[in-house]
């Protein structure tokens, strides 16, 4: 008699190959960054213990510093802004095979330009200043980026070395600028005068978040669209993956590389200008802070995808703020944050490779 008896369970049919591969790619897109964060935080915990601290407390402080309240969130968003812009710049350049570490130089030169413009031109209002600064900073950044781009595209010069050397050159230009032409006669450390009030970026009412954030917000879909739906985005991909196929089809490899270098430089310049007019308000050596490498971290963690870059920028910005807070309050070196970032990228690289091999 079979009534009342359950029929034997039938095994669920295995998902078809297409679904399986889509699941797999979802796993890697989301899973790998998560893994990277986990490993990074684990290593960070070890270092915190070595430094005599308590990982739980330390991470709690960091989380608080990043997300604890409105001011913290505000700082997080403002910190993210340059990272997003520079990360996008790196992604655009990398697409054509151009690996630039010049973000620091683009950023610095953008800040210099912004300071120079508002401190020497009596523009009077923010409405005029912002466009002028935006254009000049973008052009300045593009010039610096373009030098490395042309050197690579036309002369075959290794862009890592050239962009790094350019970073140093711009840094010393910055050092001279704050010591001489724009120097603040009353300051102790070399720095420029404070920018006039009309030049400072407006903030969102009720917060201390400057409107530069919107530039970053706007840039993300713009860049996504650029990479996906424009001819430049298409040809960048070809040039980056196979310059010979590109050339054989009439795509100018040199022009594509230089264009990507210019765009990436411009974004970096704008980032620097935004930071100067939005949060620093004064040109100084502290402006130049190793952001170039951070951009690479952001871009890689975000898998060079504009939206991923936003998330990664949030993570890195939070990590930086958190490390600074932890150093202030618990005497744990902020450099742990740097180490964690490096561990995260290394994990991403390794995990990517393992997944690739398993295919």
């Amino acid at each position: 008699m079979s009534t009342g008896m359950l029929s034997p369970p039938v095994a669920a049919p295995p998902p078809d190959p297409a679904t399986r591969s889509r699941l797999r790619s979802l796993l890697t897109t989301v899973g790998i960054p998560f893994l990277a964060v986990a490993v990074g935080l684990a290593v960070g915990a070890v270092l915190i213990v070595l430094a005599g601290g308590n990982p739980g407390e330390a991470y709690a402080t960091m989380l608080n510093a990043a997300l604890g309240g409105d001011t913290q969130l505000g700082r997080l968003l403002t910190g993210m802004t340059p990272l997003v812009l520079i990360g996008l710049g790196y992604a655009i350049a990398y697409r054509t095979g151009f690996i630039t570490i010049g973000a620091q130089g683009h950023y610095d030169v953008g800040a210099i330009t912004a300071a120079a413009v508002v401190l020497s031109l009596p523009l009077g209002t923010s409405w005029v200043a912002i466009p002028v600064v935006a254009v000049t900073a973008a052009v300045a950044g593009a010039c610096v980026g373009g030098i490395a781009g042309v050197l690579k595209a036309r002369l075959g010069v290794n862009e890592i070395i050239s962009s790094l050397m350019l970073n140093y050159l711009v840094f010393y230009a910055l050092a001279w600028t704050v010591r001489k032409p724009l120097a603040n006669p009353n300051g102790f450390t070399p720095e420029s005068e404070r920018i006039p009030d009309w030049a400072a970026l407006a903030t969102i009412p009720g917060t201390r978040i400057h409107i530069g954030v919107f530039v970053a917000v706007a840039a993300v879909p713009l860049v996504w669209w650029l990479m996906r739906s424009t001819r430049f985005g298409f040809s960048s991909q070809i040039v980056g993956e196979s310059p010979s196929v590109a050339a054989a089809n009439g795509i100018s490899v040199a022009r594509t590389i230089v264009t990507s270098a210019l765009i990436s430089g411009a974004l970096g310049g704008i980032a620097g200008a935004i930071m100067l007019l939005g949060s620093e308000f004064r040109l100084s050596l502290a402006v130049s802070s190793g952001i170039g490498f951070t951009a690479i971290v952001v871009a890689l963690l975000g898998r060079r995808n504009p939206f991923g870059i936003v998330l990664a920028a949030a993570l890195v910005s939070g990590l930086t703020l958190g490390s600074q807070a932890v150093q202030r309050t618990q005497e744990i070196p902020a450099s742990i944050g740097t180490v964690v970032q490096a561990v995260m990228i290394l994990t991403v690289l390794l995990a990517n490779r393992i997944v690739e091999r398993a295919r």
Partner: protein, 320 residues
């Protein structure tokens, strides 16, 4: 400012002596990098390995007072850091460039962390005593050259000897053949039984060790440590590799050029005594980097495009 203080007859020999001393860390790191790149491996993590080597050496010398120990521990630290690069790029065939950059970030962060761990955050910065120059008998009596080359510290001699040894290994030994083959045609090397991964591991570890030792030399010269103490020398060393056309002996000339410019700008700053000069001193500080950039451009356009090892930067997965 009195220019003859910098370039006058009496000042030239001290200038060149300082130049060589300043050049040696770069020469050493570049020579090691030549070896690695010849085997096809771009060790972009040199700056990080140098930083780690610098802090390790600094701590060692601080507690033992012996610069030679510092050089050794610095080399070991650099070698271990390079092992991270090796695992990723050789064993796992991950992209060499990004790995190298990541290791630089790692090394810089670790060095900073270690420094604060050992010495804490407050107080006067600790200092160490650099190694003292040793006049080689007879050789140091040769006019001019004697003082410049043969009155340097033992670390400098060791480093220069190492560089020559690296050249010799590369061009006169069976291992050197394997290295060159691994960099030019890894498939061909693999087919005759040369283990390309093993060859690259060895050259990479050597490169890491030389970078670490170079960091130790930087500390030895400056006597203190701070973040970014290596000042981009690791990157400059990579540029020198191009200048040297991937020959360790060539790294001596290329690195010396940098050292000369560096010594020159230091002297200019010292001679001007911090007073205002017509030419801003930042220009001189920037000179070494500008010169490196120009030199790399010139060499690349002139020669280097044809001289780079053909398989440089390309991950190799052996057939078996």
């Amino acid at each position: 400012m009195n220019w003859s203080d910098v370039l006058g007859a009496g000042a030239l020999v001290p200038l060149l002596t300082a130049a060589l001393r300043l050049a040696v860390p770069i020469i050493l790191a570049a020579a090691g990098a030549c070896l690695a790149e010849r085997s096809g491996l771009m060790n972009l993590g040199i700056e990080g390995q140098m930083m780690v080597g610098a802090i390790t050496a600094f701590v060692t010398v601080y507690y033992t007072g012996n610069p030679l120990f510092g050089a050794v521990t610095g080399a070991v630290a650099g070698l271990l850091t390079a092992a991270i690069v090796g695992y990723l790029t050789i064993t796992m065939a991950v992209d060499q460039i990004i790995t190298g950059i990541s290791v630089v970030i790692l090394g810089t962060g670790l060095a900073s962390f270690l420094y604060l761990q050992v010495f804490g955050m407050t107080g006067t910065p600790p200092r160490i005593q650099g190694s003292t120059p040793v006049d080689l008998p007879v050789l140091s009596d040769i006019p001019a050259i004697g003082q410049i080359v043969f009155s340097q510290s033992p670390l400098v001699y060791a480093a220069l000897l190492l560089v020559v040894a690296l050249w010799w290994v590369l061009s006169r030994t069976a291992f050197g053949l394997s290295v060159r083959a691994a960099g030019e045609s890894p498939e061909a090397a693999d087919s005759v039984g040369v283990s390309v991964p093993r060859t690259r591991w060895i050259t990479l570890l050597i490169s890491g060790a030389t970078a670490g030792m170079a960091g130790a030399l930087v500390i030895d010269g400056l006597g203190f440590f701070q973040d970014g103490i290596t000042g981009g020398r690791g990157w400059i060393a990579l540029g020198v590799v191009i200048l040297a056309r991937w020959n360790p002996l060539g790294a001596i000339a290329g690195g010396f050029m940098f050292g000369l410019v560096d010594a020159f700008q230091l002297r200019v700053q010292a001679a001007s005594g911090g007073q205002a000069t017509s030419v801003p001193y930042e220009l001189f500080q920037a000179m070494p980097y500008a010169v490196t950039l120009v030199a790399v451009v010139v060499t690349t356009v002139g020669f280097a495009r044809n001289n780079a090892p053909k398989a440089l930067g390309v991950p190799f997965v052996p057939a078996r």
